[in-house]
Structures are given as C-alpha cells and as structure tokens.
C-alpha cells in the first residue's frame, strides 16, 4: 500500500480556523440574542430563551471547537516529486492524488485572518478539478507554487 501522506497543517492554522469559526457564529448570536430579547419584551414562554441559548451554544461549540479540531486532526498532505496527495474530511475521509504533470496552475489566497498568522490557502487546478490545501505556511505555499510551476514547465502539455 502507498504510504499515507504525513504532513500536517501548522497548528496556527487551527487557531485561524477557530477565529473564522467565531466570526461565523456572529449571525446565530444575533439571531438568538434577538429571540431572547423578544421573549423578555413580549412575555413569550420561558422555553424560547432556553432553546435560543441551547441553539447558540451548540452551534458555537461545533463551529469554533469541534469542527476545526476534527478538520485539523484529519488533514494530511504531501507534495512529492511526481504527485500531490491530500487526505481530509470530517465524516467521509477523502484521499486524492493529483499528478504533477496534470497540474495547470497553483494559486495562493490569503484573507486577513490567514495573513495575521502568516498562512495561505493553496489552490491546485487541473484541467478538470480544483483542489485546496486550506492553510499552509506562507513560505511553504510560495515554495510549492514555485516547485509546481518549475515542473509544469518541464513536463509536456498533452491535454
């Protein structure tokens, strides 16, 4: 059997995901807060407050704690001479092989949160599919991009 990919997302990536998870939970926060305020103002039954609190805390816990941890724990990647291998997934584990000679181009993308932690998202495009490594060290991302463009230049384009 092929050796499993072993490289992991840097631990800073987990932190960045938690922050973006926090931002994601703003909307349910406003929603539950509104429901609680309305319940107090209009004398709605008490369970509305309880349900809202439950809903928000469950949502926030999943989005800030559980999902990022699981995602980080599962994510593996490896860039070899001839191919890129990815392994990820929360509930369904997916392993993908992308041969170097099939790679058309590599993009790096960086939002404000990732930038703060010197991370970048790397997107690898083939003629048919797009693959993503969600958080890589910036230097490593740059290196990867350079590496792949080097390889792409030498490989014959036979699409």
């Amino acid at each position: 059997m092929i050796t499993e990919p072993h490289k992991r997302i840097p631990a800073r990536g987990l932190l960045a995901w938690r922050i973006s998870g926090t931002l994601h939970s703003v909307f349910p926060f406003v929603f539950s807060g509104g429901a609680i305020a309305a319940a107090i103002l209009f004398n709605w039954p008490i369970w509305v407050i309880g349900a809202s609190l439950m809903f928000y805390s469950a949502y926030a816990y999943l989005v800030i704690m559980t999902f990022p941890s699981l995602k980080w724990k599962r994510w593996r990647y490896e860039v070899r001479e001839n191919e890129i291998e990815l392994k990820y997934g929360l509930f369904v584990i997916k392993r993908t092989l992308v041969p170097m000679i099939r790679v058309q181009h590599v993009d790096t993308r960086q939002g404000p949160i990732l930038r703060k932690y010197r991370l970048a998202t790397v997107t690898i495009s083939t003629a048919a599919t797009v693959h993503e490594i969600p958080a890589l060290d910036m230097d490593e991302a740059e290196e990867l991009r350079f590496f792949i463009s080097q390889l792409a230049r030498s490989a014959e384009n036979d699409v």
Partner: protein, 484 residues
C-alpha cells in the same frame, strides 16, 4: 487563395440583424406595450420603434462590413468590431475542432456556418470564433489547412482519400433512437412552463372549480387527456430527434473522427483522435433491456456555452456487443469490452440504505398525513429499493493496462473509459459506515470541454479501490524506473 482578408457572405448581415432583433425582443415589447400613454405618445413611440429597428439593421450591416477573415502564416486571422477594432489570431494547431452547420438561412445560398473551437480553459465561449456564412469551398479550404497543420503538413491530399465510414444510421435505427430518447420529458416540461405563463390571462382556478364536479365523475376522461398530452409530447420529441439525427454518419479520416448529422440543419463535427479524453457508453432504461447503447466521446474542445461539442455522440444507437468491434480499429488504445469487477455482496446493504434514506421523507410524510391515499407512497419505497438494487448490480471497475473503466448508474447506466494519462485526479472516499464494512468509493475526473467529467463508483471492495489508487499513483512507478 485565402491570404487576402475576406468578408462573410452578405447573408450574415441578415443573420446579425435577426440575432440582435431577437435579443431586443423583450425590452422592445415592454416598451411597445407599456410605453403608450395616449395622444402624442403613440407617434413618438412609432418613430422611436422604427428608429430602433433601423439602427439595429444598420449595426447588422456594419458588423458584417467590418468582419473579415483570412488564413495567413498558419493562423486563422479574424478582424472585427464596429467601434473598437478587434483582432483575433488563432494558430491552426491550437484549434481543437471545427464544427460546420447549415441552417435555414445558409442553405439556399450553398453556405455553411463554421464554428472554430480552441481549448476550453479560456471559458465563457470567448476563445471561439464563429464564421456565420462562408462558402463551402472556403470551409473546405480552412478544414484542409487545419488538418494539415495538425498532422503531417506535406500531404493534405492523401488525408482526404483516407476516409472510412465507421457507422451510418439506418432508418429503422433512427426511428428506434428517436422513440427511445428522453426528449419527451423535455417537451412536456416546456408545455407546462408555457401553459403556466398564461396563468394571469386564463382564469385556471375558475376553470378548475367548474370542472371539479365533472372531474370527480370523469377520472377516465382526465386520464385520457393526460395520456394524449404525453403522446403528443412524445411525438413532437420523436420528430425533433429524427430531424436532428437523420443521416448520422461517423467517418474516420487519418487522425480525426468526423460526425455529420441533421436534416434541416446539417452539422459536421470534427474531433482529432489525440484530443479524446474519455469514452462513455450510456444505456438508458428503455434501451438497456434490448441491449442497445449510445457512445460518446469527451474531448478537450468546446466552451461553457456549448457543451454539446465537448461531449460528442459518435454512435447514437448500437448493439452493445458491436461497439468494441466497430471502434477497436480506430481507437486501439481503448479496451471497450473488459470484464468488470463488481461490488461485493456486503455492499448491497449500503446501497439499499442509501436509497431508503433518500426516499424516506417522500414516503413518510404522505403516510402520516394523508391516509388512506398515503399508503400509495409505499410504491415509491419499493421503486427506490429496486433502483438501489440496480445501482448495486451495475457498480463495477476494471483496469486494462493503461485504462481505467468505471461503471455506475445514476438514472442511465454509464460506463466510462479513461486512459491513465487523461485522468486529471483520482480520489478514494471512505465514510465511517463504509470503513466498518471494508468498502470504499472511487472517484476519477477527466477533462471535458471547459469543465470536468469522470465517474464515481460507490461501495467497492476497499482493497480493490486501493489497488486502483496505487495503479494511478506516479510515485511507485517512477521509483522502480530509477533503480536500474
């Protein structure tokens, strides 16, 4: 002969005019219907309308006047644009395919419309050029130049003689093809869409309440009505398909496959053999039981707008057992009749569960809320389970040296054949439940036009799936090569 800039046939001015007019039809109607506010307005409106039409006409002519094309230094050079002059130079060897069609406007003048397609990655149909009306001689000339640029430039003459007809549709097959295509469904939905467009004009509700008593007594009448609507839709679809696929011919020239078809609008599509990305065999529910199938080729050409040229039908309807024999001499690197490895017995459970969960809401809701009629929804459950069983039976894979074949069923049974060097990426998926049963899903992607195609087969034996994965991996092979 063609190094001087040439214009399209003047008829293309009319084509432009009609095209612009069609695009403007809706805003124009809105303007005419809602614009008039009594008295003076009508005259203003009339003048404006005529003005607009005249302007569109003028633009059509100008567009034609400014549009020139020529063959120069191995490039197809097109210059166009009314206000901003644009130039598009397409190197002949960059052209993926040339499509010829003869529409109603072109035919009386012996002209053809030529569509030039380059690799799809540029997106949005921008990369292609359309010569709306050129003479057949010019089209031939461009085609020969294209073939010559693709292949050995020295002998374009031999190229023309080396043609071989692989397949030509017979009248019986044409009828069979048209009568078993899925086109009827499309026509029916179009009819419904059309009918409900007029909801505001025709008081359906009143009509329906009036009919209610009648309907209650006349289930037979309603059934008959529905039957007639379906029959009509099927007939329309039948005629449509017959016109579309009449005279379907597949020709092999030196390095290309050429498809010609159509009665009212003749189309000719050319695909270089070395641009083929994958081969697909599809068997729909009506055709599969009698052993008939349709064969498509996925190519790298085509644009987002026109997906038809990326997935080209090469054998419209043919006995499945004949496919390999017909295509083997022309596509020798493909093994089209492999023995398939099927999903293991323990996978059946997974398929049935999947089908069950999908259909559950549609069965449970009527069952709980609308008794006693809701019990009929149990039929759906039986259908879904039967369907899942079919999916289980059809799941399969095979590797023959450099080719991966995947067989699976969505609605139609699809078998896709991909060469290893045409597979863009390969994935293995394992869910918790699959892992418990030692199963996994394989997913392969190939290129097709501007997007992707490929296949997914669920719940195969995990070991087999990883064997495919290993077969695809470049690492193992390269390492072996390095060690002497």
């Amino acid at each position: 002969m063609m190094s001087n800039p040439k214009r399209l046939h003047p008829i293309s001015a009319a084509v432009n005019f009609l095209k612009h007019l069609k695009e403007m039809l809706v805003p124009f109607l809105v303007f005419v219907v809602f614009g008039s506010r009594g008295g003076n307005g009508e005259i203003v409106q009339l003048v404006l309308s005529i003005g607009i039409i005249a302007a569109v006409f003028l633009i059509g002519i100008l567009t034609w006047w400014r549009y020139t094309y020529r063959l120069e230094e191995g490039e197809l050079r097109i210059e166009y644009g009314v206000l901003v002059k644009k130039k598009r130079y397409i190197p002949l060897e960059r052209i993926q395919s040339l499509d010829l069609s003869e529409g109603l406007l072109q035919r009386p003048f012996g002209l053809v419309k030529m569509k030039v397609e380059t690799a799809g990655s540029t997106g949005a149909g921008e990369a292609e050029a359309v010569l709306t009306a050129i003479s057949k001689e010019d089209a031939d000339f461009i085609q020969q130049a294209f073939s010559a640029a693709k292949n050995n430039p020295s002998e374009p003459e031999a190229e023309m003689q080396n043609r071989e007809v692989i397949y030509k549709i017979k009248p019986g097959e044409l009828f069979l093809l048209a009568s078993t295509s899925g086109g009827a469904g499309v026509v029916i939905s179009a009819v419904f869409a059309f009918v409900f467009q007029f909801e505001e004009i025709i008081p359906y509700e009143k009509v329906f309440t009036g009919l209610e008593g009648f309907i209650a007594n006349g289930m037979i009448f309603v059934s008959l009505l529905i039957f007639i609507v379906f029959l009509m839709a099927w007939l329309i679809a039948l005629i449509g398909s017959m016109l579309k696929y009449a005279g379907f011919t597949l020709i092999r020239s030196e390095k290309e496959l050429i498809v010609t078809r159509g009665l009212l609008e003749k189309r000719q599509m050319t695909i270089p053999l070395n641009r083929i990305q994958a081969i697909q065999i599809r068997e729909n529910l009506l055709r599969q039981p009698v052993g008939l199938a349709t064969v498509y080729i996925e190519s790298a050409g085509g644009s987002i707008e026109d997906n038809e040229s990326a997935r080209l039908m090469i054998l419209p309807i043919v006995k499945k057992t004949r496919i390999a024999g017909l295509l083997k001499p022309h596509l020798p690197q493909y093994e089209l009749q492999p023995g398939f490895f099927k999903a293991p017995k323990r996978a059946l459970n997974r398929y049935l569960w999947r089908g069950f969960l999908w259909i559950l809401p549609f069965v449970a809701v009527p069952l709980l809320l609308f008794r006693p009629w809701g019990y009929f929804s149990l039929v759906l459950l039986v259908l879904a389970l039967g369907w899942s069983h079919l999916k289980y039976r059809d799941a399969g894979w095979d590797i023959s040296s450099q080719q991966l074949a995947l067989r699976y069923r969505g609605i139609v049974r699809t078998t896709v054949f991909m060469r290893r060097n045409r597979i863009q990426s390969l994935s293995v998926k394992e869910s918790y439940f699959q892992k418990k049963r030692n199963l996994a899903t394989i997913e392969a992607a190939a290129m097709s036009g501007a997007g992707g195609t490929g296949g997914t087969v669920r719940n195969l034996d995990r070991k087999e799936v990883y064997a495919i994965y290993k077969w695809y991996s470049y690492t193992g092979l390269k390492q072996q090569k390095k060690r002497p």
